[in-house]
Symmetry: C2
Subunit: 392 residues, 2 copies
């Protein structure tokens, strides 16, 4: 079995060469916030028991879980009992779409989404009802008028609109859409998986999904907030714990909440700092020949920047940058392994190939960003050269 042994004794053997690496692929999966690691350790020691049990250890785990729920609720502008932990962001979106639309089957089966929602949400909508997609403009911003008109047509079970697009950074008009949805009596699901912890989140939602792994908390746990006024229907085989069948990991939920409190504590400062860095990158990159700097220049996430290069293969550029010590994302965040053309970029009508996305972590420095800006033009040129000589 020795060949299959995860090597715990010598961590160094598993993680060589991290020195001087610049990791700019922090969207959806960021390094843990140090306080989250500390909180997790504490909760593993104190909150490992099943919080549904009656004994002292179970009650202590339940208290940790309640504290986590209250902390997240305070940030989201929700009541504690409206906040639920799930197995992850994908699970949150699946369950929210399925449950909220099933509860309104009598009103209709249409599920209205923007064209640039996360794949998990679009897939859930496709399965749960009659999916109806509202287009976006070239900046990735949904046509609020078209969405609001669609909401007013009878037969809508649910509207889903992301707070901001994690791939290109564009912020969506959720307030306007929520107004129209409320007037029509249709619940609005807001995917805030790319924005919570980075910008202020509006309270104009009926259901809201947020992603701890995106804000420096752990993967393996998600957050779904459901206003008490929203009707939901059971989905899946379990009546108990409908949002997390079998229960949730208390240490993960606790670490997620502590990380959220920690990033909220200096969010405004971090937002300004990272916005400045991103604007610098966008300006620098726009000087590279044959590039499209993607997404809304103003109404955008402070930490995300996306570019599409003509005459460049996205995978080759990611690999070339990786060789030079820079980790970046490419294509669609949801299908990074396959590098299929991103449905987001396609819906925006921008170049879908030769795409690179960076998402700055709270720890990303100006120096790292400068080094990236210095290396990128050469990397693009080399990949173009390889492509030109048929080397790819």
């Amino acid at each position: 079995m020795s060949h299959a042994t995860p090597d715990t004794a010598t961590p160094g053997a598993i993680s060589p060469g991290t020195t001087n690496r610049v990791h700019l692929d922090n969207g959806g999966r960021a390094p843990w916030h140090p306080l989250a690691r500390q909180a997790f350790e504490q909760a593993v020691a104190d909150g490992w028991a099943d919080p549904r049990r009656l004994h002292a250890e179970g009650r202590r785990a339940a208290r940790l879980l309640d504290g986590a729920r209250e902390a997240v609720a305070a940030v989201l502008g929700a009541r504690a009992q409206e906040v639920h932990f799930t197995p992850g962001h994908t699970a949150s979106l699946h369950a929210a779409v399925a449950s909220a639309s099933a509860a309104r089957r009598r009103a209709g089966s249409a599920i209205l989404t923007s064209a640039v929602e996360r794949s998990a949400l679009l897939n859930a909508a496709r399965v749960a009802g009659r999916q109806s997609t509202v287009p976006v403009d070239r900046l990735g911003r949904v046509d609020a008028e078209a969405m609001n008109a669609a909401v007013r047509v009878p037969g809508a079970a649910l509207v889903a609109l992301q707070h901001a697009n994690g791939e290109v950074g564009t912020v969506q008009p959720v307030e306007a859409v929520h107004d129209a949805a409320r007037a029509a009596g249709v619940p609005l699901l807001v995917d805030a998986g790319a924005s919570v912890g980075h910008v202020a989140v509006p309270d104009t939602w009926d259901l809201l999904a947020a992603d701890p792994a995106d804000w420096g908390g752990p993967a393996g746990v998600g957050v779904l907030a459901v206003r008490q006024r929203v009707r939901t229907a059971p989905v899946g085989p379990e009546d108990e714990d409908p949002w997390a069948p079998g229960g949730v990991s208390v240490p993960l939920a606790f670490a997620a909440a502590v990380a959220l409190q920690a990033v909220e504590a200096d969010r405004v400062a971090q937002e300004a700092r990272r916005r400045e860095l991103v604007e610098h990158v966008r300006a620098q990159v726009s000087r590279i020949p044959d590039v499209e700097v993607v997404g809304d220049p103003d109404g955008r996430l402070p930490h995300v920047a996306t570019f599409s290069f003509l005459y460049v293969d996205g995978e080759a550029l990611v690999t070339e940058l990786d060789r030079n010590g820079f980790a970046v994302g490419s294509g669609s965040a949801c299908t990074a392994s396959t590098l299929e053309p991103s449905h987001v970029l396609a819906a925006m009508g921008v170049l879908t190939h030769g795409n690179v996305r960076i998402a700055l972590d709270r720890g990303t420095t100006a120096d790292e960003v400068d080094r990236f800006c210095a290396v990128l033009p050469g990397a693009v040129a080399r990949v173009r050269e390889m492509l030109a000589v048929g080397g790819l």
Copy 2:
């Protein structure tokens, strides 16, 4: 927000009074093995990235995940590519039942289960097909002949039989049922969630679910092994990662694998040691008046003991023992919060109320067991007295 702050600075404020506590409720949720904590820390540092990404950080996370898969496969007698990580044991059972039965819809819709399977499995079977339940005897052992006869009737999509019952400890005849299932061409799903890490697990299965939280690994991750020969059908909205939509937490999977290797390393010694302690408890408890010592005296898990007391309320007894420093389970492990009568005990035809279950951890000492045996008779007497005087 201060009132909602999870208190990371002073862990002691959250976990008072753990001194001298004896925790005997380790079935399904045991304290983490120390090596699992160490492995988790390492993997948070080295494997926090998305393992589907192309860059060095992503590839390193993917390697940790592959190592975890190989380590679990070696213990289960499976190939690495047959082992999948899921969001948890309930998710494993739901997905296995739904997927394996959907793939055989042409053969039939009957899903055969024992009457004492976990609620999550019974619920999944109820939703996925035409559930058919095979009875158990008074020891909780399924009637293998009846199950095999049912398998031979055309129309069976899937048979599900636990390796051992986590509530009463009885080991099931999975080998015999697998022989009949193979002959009939029906896949056998084995729920080994209460046995892996405690006893040797047979390789007579087509799908097998195991629970890291039960063997000293983390909650929030599950294991589902599916033999390559078994046909499965996609369930849920996602084509990618069908067993863990959105992907799994690499640190959780890694910690689960390290914990499994650690407990396997001294499993035989721990099995003998805990079996002796459990036999001692069962003998001692049988001397208390009006008690039924539940489950198979011979073919049983080494660490689980269950008793039902006449003239006792289960919740009151759990609370009385908790007051005396002992944490135990009661009723059905799956519905401990509601203390509904256990469907397992009901199916066995034994007393469903006044029930107490203990599950010994690897760290449980003979002294702790002795203290439990010394305290239990008095606790039972006090609860009976309260009940008699109408104090409850």
